[in-house]
């Protein structure tokens, strides 16, 4: 019977209660006072998944894709989720593999990503395979088709302009501009892929997922409320015309040089070729590791964008500029003539002119049509020596200002990276070269586009735009609109109209007339088009190269600049073919064919032979390899020398240090001994 006085029932109750109290105390510490476990729980259980949005595509002016993401399907497998009852035969026949291969693949997946996690079973299924597998997917538990995108160039054009993407390197990750990247991310490495990385890349999304004890992601964490959505990259729409680009690249095959065609009304680049080119698909994804060094070592330097990085002396194509400046500063009038007899002797040395007949430089227009060297050298000297500037040094500064306004000697600001500046001399250049004692005779070659001046082809084309537009230009650029928006902030620099000078239209008309004459009955009759007024200027540029330690005069560069039509110009073009010969023959023909193609959408049947000649010409100089290997050898020697110098410096430094140390020690011990 119960006994109220029995202390044992009280004791038992107390044991129950005190046990509960101990537990509650422990729980209080565990759950309320300690943060450690909360942090550990988040660390082990929350998986931060970065979702990459599709990268923007690049389209040509007619909306045809030049670069886009190709969807590929991988067959994934979670080995432990594959039931023993799987119809292996059906899977094998669906995929077209045998059972041994099946076993091998599943073992590989097990080794690579473990039995509990998804791993690749077959990479990049063929279209038939993926269609058949997806149809039968319900038969294959444990298997899953996952899609992935790779960057693909549907046609092998404009490799250097489009660029490519690659994994960010550890060095890049240290820079501020790559702060939002992590190891393993891809970024544009060159061309438009690099310049428009921000917009093409889109915005990565971050999804927080719970994960389980095998690290497999499960449900969204907190219902996805902390997630940020991914935003797809925007498409780039270019001015580039794929047909024109393809045609230009074909015309430039087996040549070294470049083509730049710009729409003067907008500054939009219609075509840009750097020859030789390469198939951009060689540098996509895993291919790059295999092909990059081969391209890098190629003697013809296919990775150098000759259109924006290589510089050439403009040669006679400089003459419209020289004329323009001389006319504008009032050094001459359009009716100014020069009695050239096949040479210019005013500076004590002969400058040869190709023409010697009387009256071939009777006035500006005729002189330009005949490209008279004497005439332009003379008017250049007149311009820089013009009395109103007070001395050649100030005259050259003024001339430099004109040229600089036309975009020489500085970057045009085109929207692909690594553009070159070219070379434009000013008084300081000559002061340095001649220690201050020089005059217009010293530098007269610049007036005919030789000497200390060098332009990139894009600078030449841009200058053509300015002349065609009679004094203004838009910075050359590829991108017309970003995601259908032509006023995207990224395009702001290209919407700004640059007025370069206040040269009157009448002066430009004189130049235009002269350049039209070049085509009508001058040096570039090959460029004549039916019913279209073409203005052009040929250039044949002397050049030298170092071969086996000697400076050897090479075949001339063939240079050609043009725009058309004369009224309301729609295309301005610059073509350079290295070591090809006369300007009109090669560069002129190519430019003319391209202008015809662009302006009339087709090329006359009568010009087929010219086309064929261009296609078939192989103008890569036989010295290219010798020049290249010589250059590389010199580079290597220089590096070697620098290293040796550094080694010598270091060892000298070390020797000096040890002498100092020895001196110090000797003093120290002497002092010590003296004290004793």
């Amino acid at each position: 019977m119960s006994n109220a006085a029995n202390p044992r029932q009280i004791a038992i109750r107390l044991i129950f209660i005190s046990m509960a109290a101990i537990m509650l105390l422990r729980l209080l510490f565990l759950q309320v006072f300690e943060d450690k476990y909360k942090i550990m729980a988040n660390d082990i259980a929350i998986f931060r998944k970065v979702v990459y949005p599709p990268r923007g595509a690049i389209l040509d002016r007619k909306g045809r894709p030049l670069l886009y993401n190709e969807r590929v399907y991988d067959l994934m497998v979670t080995p432990n989720s594959v039931p023993k009852t799987l119809d292996t035969g059906l899977l094998c026949s669906t995929l077209g593999i045998d059972k041994a291969t099946f076993q091998k693949l599943i073992t590989r997946a097990r080794v690579r990503s473990g039995s509990m996690r998804k791993g690749v079973f077959i990479e990049e299924l063929s279209p038939e395979q993926s269609a058949r597998v997806q149809e039968n997917m319900y038969n294959f538990p444990g298997f899953e088709v996952s899609e992935r995108f790779i960057r693909t160039y549907p046609n092998p054009y404009a490799a250097l302009m489009l660029g490519y993407i690659g994994e960010v390197s550890p060095e890049m990750l240290k820079k501020e501009q790559y702060a939002s990247y992590t190891q393993g991310d891809y970024t544009g490495m060159n061309g438009l892929e690099r310049s428009y990385e921000d917009v093409l890349r889109g915005q990565r999304g971050v999804h927080f997922l719970e994960r389980d004890n095998f690290n497999r992601p499960r449900d969204p964490y907190k219902g996805g409320s902390l997630d940020t959505p991914e935003i797809a990259g925007k498409n780039l729409e270019l001015y580039l015309d794929e047909d024109l680009q393809a045609y230009a690249e074909k015309l430039m095959q087996n040549k070294l040089g470049s083509v730049v065609a710009i729409d003067p009304q907008t500054g939009g680049i219609l075509t840009m070729v750097s020859a030789p080119s390469y198939d951009p698909n060689l540098l996509k994804g895993t291919e790059r590791a295999r092909n990059y060094s081969k391209l890098y070592r190629d003697a013809t330097h296919p990775l150098l964008n000759r259109a924006t990085q290589a510089t050439y002396q403009p040669g006679s194509t400089m003459k419209p500029m020289t004329g323009l400046i001389a006319l504008d500063v009032g050094a001459i009038t359009p009716s100014f003539g020069y009695p050239c007899r096949g040479g210019y002797y005013a500076c004590g040395k002969k400058i040869t002119c190709l023409h010697s007949e009387a009256g071939h430089a009777a006035n500006f227009r005729i002189a330009l049509a005949h490209s008279c060297n004497s005439y332009f050298v003379h008017i250049f000297r007149l311009a820089v020596d013009a009395a109103k500037f007070g001395g050649v040094k100030k005259g050259v500064q003024k001339w430099h200002e004109y040229c600089s306004n036309f975009g020489f000697g500085r970057r045009t600001g085109v929207d692909i990276p690594f553009e070159g500046k070219g070379l434009l001399p000013d008084s300081n250049t000559y002061n340095r070269m001649y220690h201050g004692s020089w005059n217009s005779c010293t530098m007269l070659y610049v007036g005919m586009g030789q000497g200390e001046i060098a332009l990139t082809p894009i600078q030449m084309a841009n200058a053509m735009c300015i002349i065609a537009n009679k004094g203004y230009y838009y910075s050359p650029h590829f991108v017309r609109a970003i995601g259908n928006n032509p006023k995207d902030p990224h395009l702001q620099p290209y919407l700004e109209k640059h007025v370069v000078s206040h040269i009157p239209d009448t002066t430009f008309n004189v130049i235009h007339a002269g350049m039209q004459d070049v085509v009508e009955h001058g040096t570039a009759m090959v460029a004549k088009l039916d019913g279209i007024e073409v203005c052009a200027k040929t250039g044949t540029v002397e050049n030298k190269a170092a071969i086996n330690g000697q400076a050897i005069k090479m075949q001339n560069h063939s240079v050609f600049v043009a725009f058309a039509p004369r009224q309301h110009p729609r295309i301005a073009i610059a073509v350079v073919v290295e070591n090809a010969g006369f300007g009109a023959t090669w560069a002129g023909s190519i430019a003319s064919l391209l202008m015809e193609k662009y302006l009339t959408d087709s090329v006359r049947a009568s010009r087929r032979p010219l086309e064929e000649k261009m296609y078939n010409a192989n103008l890569i100089s036989k010295y290219t390899y010798a020049i290249d290997s010589g250059q590389r050898a010199r580079d290597a020697a220089r590096r070697q020398r620098l290293m040796e110098q550094r080694a010598t410096r270091d060892s000298l430094q070390r020797a000096e240090d040890s002498v100092q140390a020895a001196t110090f020690l000797r003093k120290y011990y002497l002092n010590k001994n003296n004290k004793r």
């Binding site: 729980l27 759950q31 300690e34 449900d219």
Partner: protein, 440 residues
């Protein structure tokens, strides 16, 4: 009697029924929350544990009804027979048992498996109640005390033979019952001293402990020197206690750790104490000696992370990242408390512990109001079994006790456990309904 005339249902103790129902409901919720995925098409999927558990709950209620409609005298007359059957089943299990997760304590009948050790708790309770309440028993004699201890510990020995040490430990709860029925106070003192001695043996270096114990004996001997001079028994007692302590700490514990306990059990004990297992206890030729990490370490850490991350109010229902994603092993059986701790925090845990303590106190209250000794002893048996399960299970999830594989009563997923606890409680309810009847 007026009470006896009322319907049997109205005579059931309402608070106990409510507390029982609350625990089963919490259990179902916890098991559900552990397995639920947002992708599940329906919450009523028979393949899921909570639906199986619900089915077992239905079976338990049915058995409970049968018990309610049984005559209360049946249990007392059935006690020894059932105990014999229980022992028989345990013996059979040793030979015909099925291996489940390393223990050999399950019997399979067709596709249904059950653990005789679990069911045998009921039979042992009945037998002890019967024995202690029998008029022939005089619990003040050593002989009858030994018989009582034998009744309680025989199943435990058989269960140890099945390698299910945790379950065997539960049978020690009957000491609490026997204490209530007159086992001397010294039992409790000796019990606590033994625990202290065991802990000291594990934590303190052998030779240091030797010094401490000997020093203690000398100090005590000096304090009671007059008593020692007069009384032979005191001398014998002092030397006996010292000798036993020496024997226990220097010989028994090292020997049993080395030769009796399994390696993982020794490991668990040291893990709980936050100690590395001494190399001396590494079994020679143990095949898992090169295994990385410590499994029981991992379990307890994950369990502590789950509970600790719950905070004061918990992460909310179905938001338990650790339990839902299977970081905690055995989380819907032995570690089900993690689910409550993580999702409902300290507040929820405190409520749950409150419910358990209320149920145990209510059972003690019910026991004390019984007219017959059989019912009273039985009530204490139920309360003690609940207490042992509750105390050991929750302590192990929060790192207070070594990992011992026993269930949390009425919450853990598992038919055997739910059914046997239901039967235990329903028999008590049935006895309590007839509390004014003398049962022999």
């Amino acid at each position: 009697m007026s009470a006896a005339n009322k319907s049997i249902f109205s005579r059931l103790d309402a608070p106990t029924v409510l507390l029982y129902a609350a625990l089963v409901a919490i259990g179902l919720t916890a098991v559900f929350s552990v397995e639920y995925r947002v992708t599940d098409p329906s919450i009523f999927m028979m393949s899921k544990s909570h639906m199986k558990q619900f089915t077992w709950f239905g079976i338990s209620l049915f058995v409970g009804l049968l018990i309610i409609f049984t005559d209360s005298k049946f249990f007392s007359s059935f006690a020894y027979l059932s105990y014999t059957i229980g022992l028989f089943l345990l013996v059979i299990t040793i030979f015909a048992g099925v291996d489940v997760k390393g223990s050999h304590s399950w019997l399979g009948v067709g596709s249904v498996r059950f653990q005789p050790g679990e069911v045998c708790k009921i039979f042992t309770s009945l037998a002890i109640s019967k024995f202690l309440s029998s008029p022939e028993t005089n619990f003040q004699t050593l002989r009858h005390r030994l018989i009582g201890v034998a009744i309680a510990l025989t199943p435990a020995v058989l269960i140890i033979l099945q390698k299910e040490t945790g379950l065997a430990l539960v049978y020690f709860c009957f000491f609490l019952v026997m204490y209530r029925e007159g086992l001397p106070n010294t039992i409790l003192i000796i019990g606590f001293s033994m625990i202290a001695l065991t802990l000291a043996t594990l934590l303190i270096d052998r030779w240091v402990l030797f010094g401490i114990l000997t020093g203690l004996a000398i100090i005590v001997g000096y304090l009671i020197r007059r008593e020692l001079r007069r009384n032979v028994l005191a001398r014998v007692l002092l030397i006996g206690v010292w000798g036993f302590c020496m024997l226990f700490s220097q010989v028994l514990v090292p020997f049993s750790f080395k030769h009796v306990l399994q390696k993982h059990q020794v490991e668990r004990i040291y893990t709980t104490l936050g100690q590395k297992m001494p190399e001396a206890y590494e079994k020679e030729g143990a095949k898992d000696s090169n295994k990385k990490g410590n499994v029981s370490d991992y379990n307890v850490l994950q369990s502590k992370i789950a509970i600790g991350s719950g905070g004061f109010w918990g992460k909310g229902f179905l938001n338990g990242t650790s339990t839902k994603n299977e970081f905690v092993p055995e989380q819907n059986t032995d570690f089900i408390f993690c689910a409550v701790g993580e999702q409902f925090g300290f507040a929820g845990s405190a409520v749950l512990i409150g419910i358990y303590v209320s149920l145990m106190l209510r059972l003690v209250y019910l026991a004390e109001r019984q007219r017959s000794a059989f019912s009273r002893v039985y009530g204490y048996c139920v309360a003690s079994i609940l207490f042992f399960h509750f105390a050991i299970n929750i302590s192990m999830t929060i790192g207070l006790a070594p990992v011992i594989g026993i269930t949390l009563p009425l919450l853990s997923y598992g038919g055997s456990s739910l059914l046997s606890f239901s039967i235990l409680i329903f028999i008590m309810l049935r006895l309590d309904a007839d509390r004014s009847v003398m049962i022999r």
